[in-house]
Amino acid sequence: MNSNLIWLVALPLIGSAVAAIVVRYKFLDRLITFLTFATTLFVLFSVHVGQSYSWGLNFLGTTLNLTLNVSHLSIFMLYISIAFGTVLTFYSLIDHSRMKGFLLLLILAANNWIFMSNDMVGFFFAWELMGWASVVSVLGGREREKSRHAALYYMIMSVSGSYSMFFGIFTLWRLTGTFSISANIAYLSSIVGIHPWWVLGIVSLFFVTFMIKAGIFPFHTWVPLAYAYSPDAFTPFLSAVMSKYGIYGMLLFMPLSLMERGFPSAFGGVPWTNYIFVWIGVITAVLGTVLAIFQDDVKKLFAYSSLSNLGYVVAAIALFTPVGITAGIFHAFNHLLFKGTLFITLLAVISRSGTSKLSEMGGLWKKMPITFFTFFVGIASAAGIPPFNGFGSKWLIYQAMIKQHLPFATILLFLASTGAFMYLFKAFHSIFLGQLSHDYDRVKEVSAVGKITEFFLMFAMTFFGVQPGYILKPIGAIVKSMGLKPLPVMANGYVTGMFSNIYVPLISWSLAVSFTLGFILFFVSAKHKYVSQENNYTAGQIPEDWGLTPETYQFSWNFYQPVEKLFAPFFRIKIDGFFRGTGDWTKTIGSAIKEIFVGNAQMYAFFAIVGLIIFVIAGWMA
C-alpha cells in the first residue's frame, strides 16, 4: 500500500476545486494549475514501478476494490503526460485564450487515474471524467459558434465510445465476476484459443472507445473540429496528451498477442485481426496526411497531422512484435513532444496575429525569431529529420513493417511521411516565410515565459533526438513486461533496429562539422548585404496605386492546388457524412415520434386503452 499514489489523483482534484473557486481571475486559475502540475510531477518522483494502492468502495452491494497499480507502461505515460502538462501550463501563464485551468486539472486527475487504474470501475470513472472535462474544455475557442458545434460533435463521439466500453466492462464482469483489469486480460488470454470470435467481440467493444479517443479511422471525424475550435491553449494538451489515452488503452486492454493463438495468419505471419488493424493505422496515416495538405486553418492542418501520426502508432503496435511495440510507443512519445511543441508555437503565433488562417499570415520569422526556430525544430522532428526526435521512431516503424514483410503498408506509410513534409512546409511557409503583411508590422515576440518554454522544448526535442536511449530503455522495460523480447539498447545514443543500427550522435557530429564548414565557406566568400523583403524581383517596387500589397506576393492560397486532383478519391470518403446522416436520421425519427404526443386528452386516453387491450390479449394468449 503506497499512499503516495492516491495523491496523484487527489492533488489535482483538490487543485481543481481551488482553481474553480478563483476561476474568474484568469491568472490565479492558471497559476494554481501550473503549481498543481508541478507538484504532481514532484509527487511522481516518489512513485516507482510495482507500487500499488487500493481502497474499498461500498458499491453495487459489495465492497469494490479500486486498485491503483504502477506498471512500467503507466509510469512512462505518467511521466511524459505530466511533464508536458507542466510545460504547457507554465506557458499558459501568459496566455489569454479561454482555457479553464480547473478543467485541465480535472483531466490531469483522470489522466493519472487512467494510467494507474487496475480496475475497470476506476478506469471507466476516470475515462468519463476525462471525457466530459475535455468536452467542456473544447467550448470557448476563438470562434464561439464553431467551437460549440465541435464540442457537441466530440461529445457525441466520446459518449458513444464510453458506452461501448461500458458494455464491454460489464460483459467481462458477467464472465469473470471481477473488475480487475489484469484478471480479465488473463481470462481473455485463457479462452482465446477456444472462443476467438467471442474474445474478438469483447475486445472490439473496448477498441471502439480507444479508436474514438485516439481519432483513428473511421472515427477520426471529430478530431479536426475539436482541435481547430478548442481554446488555443488547450489544443496542445488535447493533441499531445489526450490522444495517447486511446493508445494506452489499446496497449493495456489489447494484448494483441492473444489473437495469435486464436486467428489464422495473414501475410507476413501477422494474425488476421492484427493485419486489419495495421491497415486501419495505415489508412489513418495516409488519410490524415492527404487531408492535412489541403487545409487552410493551421490548427486543422495539425489536427490532421496528429491523426496521421497516430495512424503510424497504431500500425506499429498492431504488429505486436518487439520492434513494433517499441516503435509505436516511441513514436507516441515523439508525437507528444513535437506536436505539443508545434501547437504551443501556434498558440504563440495565433495570440500575436489573431488568426489561424494560413492564407492570412506570412513573413513572421523576423518578428518572432525564437518561435520561428522552435517551429522549425518542431517540423524537422515531425518530418523525421535526424538528429531531432521524430526520426528514430519513424525509422523503427519502417523496420518493424519490413520485418513482417508488409511492403504495401510500408510504401503507404512512406507516402504519408513525404506528404507530411509537404504540409509541414506549407504551414512553415505560410506562417513564417514569405511576405510580411503590413498588418503584422507591430507583432512582437512572446514574452519571457514563452521564450523559456520554447528554448526548453527545442532543447528537449534535440536531446531526445540525439539520446533516444533515455526513452528506449523504459520502453524496453515496457516491452519486457508484455512478455516480449525487448530491443537491445547499446548506449543512449543508439537506435537499434532489426536491419541496422543508428548511432544518432554520429549524425549530429557529422552535421556539426559540416555546418561549421558551411559557415566557414559562407563567411570566407564575398560579402553580402541585407536588403528589404520587397527588394526582390519586383525591383523594390510595389506600386500601391495598382492595388498591390505585400500580401499580393504571398503565395499561400491553394498551395498544392495541382495535386488536389490526384487525391480527389480521398475527398469522396464521407465518413463524416455518415455520422451526420445518422444524426439527422435520429432527429427525423425524433420529430416523428414527438407527434405521438398530440396534445389531446382523448388521444392519450386512447393510447392507454389500446395498451391495456394489447396486454389483455397478450395475457389471454399466454
Binding site: 517540423i379 510504401i411 512546409f425 564548414l517 495541382p562
Partner: protein, 297 residues
C-alpha cells in the same frame, strides 16, 4: 586519433563528392550541348563558375535566407559521409539507407526555408513543385528500397553492397530488374532532369527556387546540387550495381547512371506537375510493387 582520422576522411569525402559532382555537371553540359549541336563549355567550367560566384558580392534577405542555403549545402555534406563508395566507407556500421534519405530531407528543408524567406512567389511555387514531385518519386523509390531490404535482409547500404558481391549476376540489377527500372525513373525525378524538371522550369517561374539567388548563394545552390547528384547516383550504384571495389569504378558506375539520365533529359519535353506525379504513381510504382510482390512471395 581515430576521431581525427575520421574527420579528415569525412572532409576528404565531402571534397571528393563536390569535385565529382561539379565535374559530372560540367560533362553533362558538354554532352547536352553536343546533342543539341552546340560546342558547349569545357567540362571544368563549373569549377570556375563556383569560384566566380563565391567571390561576388551579393544580396540576402535575412538570416533565414543565409541559414537555409548553408543548411542545404551542409546537410548533404553531412549525409555523404555515410555513403559507402568503393573501398571508402567511413562508418560501415552506420549506413542505413533510410537514415541517409531522411538526412537529405534536411537539406531540402533548409533550401526551401531559405528561398521561401525571400518572399518571392516564384521561389515558393518552385518549392511547392519540388515537394510535390518529391512525393511523386519517393513512393516508387520507397517500394524499391523496401524490396531490396526484404531481399537482402538488411537495411544498411554497406551490407547491401556486401550481399551483391561475387560478380555481375549477383547484382540487384539482374536480380531485381523491375525494381531497377522503377528506381531509374525515380532517379530521373530526384535529379530534377527532364521530363521532371518542373521545379526549376526557367521559362515559367524564372528558375523557381533559384530566382532570388545571386553570387555566393547561387554558388551554394550549385554546390548543393553537385553533392545531391553524387549521393543520389551513389545510392543507386550501391543498391543495384553492386557497389564497387574502389572509388574509381564507383565513380564510373555513377557516371553511367548519370549519362543515361542525361540522354533522357536531352530528348524529353517537360511534364506538368500533376502529370509528373501521376506518371510516377503509374508506371514506376507498378514496377516497384510488382518487384515487392515478387520478393515477398
Amino acid at each position: 586519433m581515430t576521431i581525427l582520422l575520421k574527420l579528415i576522411q569525412g572532409i576528404g569525402v565531402g571534397a571528393l563528392s563536390i569535385a565529382v559532382g561539379l565535374l559530372f555537371i560540367g560533362i553533362g553540359r558538354k554532352i547536352t550541348a553536343r546533342i543539341q549541336r552546340r560546342y558547349g563549355p569545357p567540362p571544368i567550367q563549373n569549377f570556375f563558375d563556383i569560384f566566380k560566384l563565391l567571390s561576388k558580392r551579393s544580396i540576402s534577405h535575412g538570416f533565414a535566407f543565409d541559414l537555409g542555403l548553408i543548411a542545404g549545402f551542409s546537410a548533404l555534406l553531412a549525409a555523404v559521409v555515410f555513403l559507402p563508395m568503393g573501398q571508402i566507407n567511413i562508418f560501415p556500421h552506420n549506413s542505413s539507407l533510410i537514415m541517409i534519405i531522411y538526412l537529405m530531407t534536411m537539406a531540402y528543408l533548409g533550401m526551401a526555408m531559405g528561398v521561401s524567406s525571400s518572399g518571392n512567389p516564384n521561389a515558393t511555387i518552385g518549392i511547392a513543385r519540388a515537394l510535390t514531385m518529391m512525393m511523386g518519386y519517393e513512393v516508387p523509390f520507397a517500394a524499391v528500397i523496401f524490396s531490396v531490404y526484404i531481399f537482402s535482409r538488411t537495411g544498411s547500404l554497406a551490407n547491401i553492397v556486401a550481399a551483391q558481391s561475387g560478380g555481375f549476376l549477383n547484382w540487384n540489377l539482374v536480380r531485381l530488374p523491375f525494381g531497377f527500372v522503377a528506381a531509374e525513373i525515380a532517379l530521373q525525378g530526384m535529379l530534377g532532369e527532364k521530363p521532371f524538371d518542373m521545379t526549376i522550369a526557367p521559362s515559367e517561374i524564372a528558375s523557381g527556387p533559384m530566382v532570388e539567388m545571386g553570387g555566393k548563394y547561387l554558388g551554394f545552390g550549385m554546390l548543393q546540387h553537385s553533392i545531391g547528384l553524387f549521393i543520389e547516383t551513389g545510392i543507386m550504384v550501391d543498391l543495384f550495381l553492386g557497389g564497387a571495389s574502389n572509388i574509381w569504378i564507383f565513380i564510373a558506375k555513377q557516371f553511367v547512371l548519370y549519362f543515361a539520365a542525361l540522354m533522357i533529359n536531352a530528348i524529353m519535353p517537360r511534364f506538368r506537375i500533376e502529370e509528373g506525379v501521376s506518371f510516377m504513381w503509374k508506371f514506376p510504382l507498378l514496377l516497384g510493387v510488382v518487384q515487392a510482390l515478387i520478393v515477398v512471395l
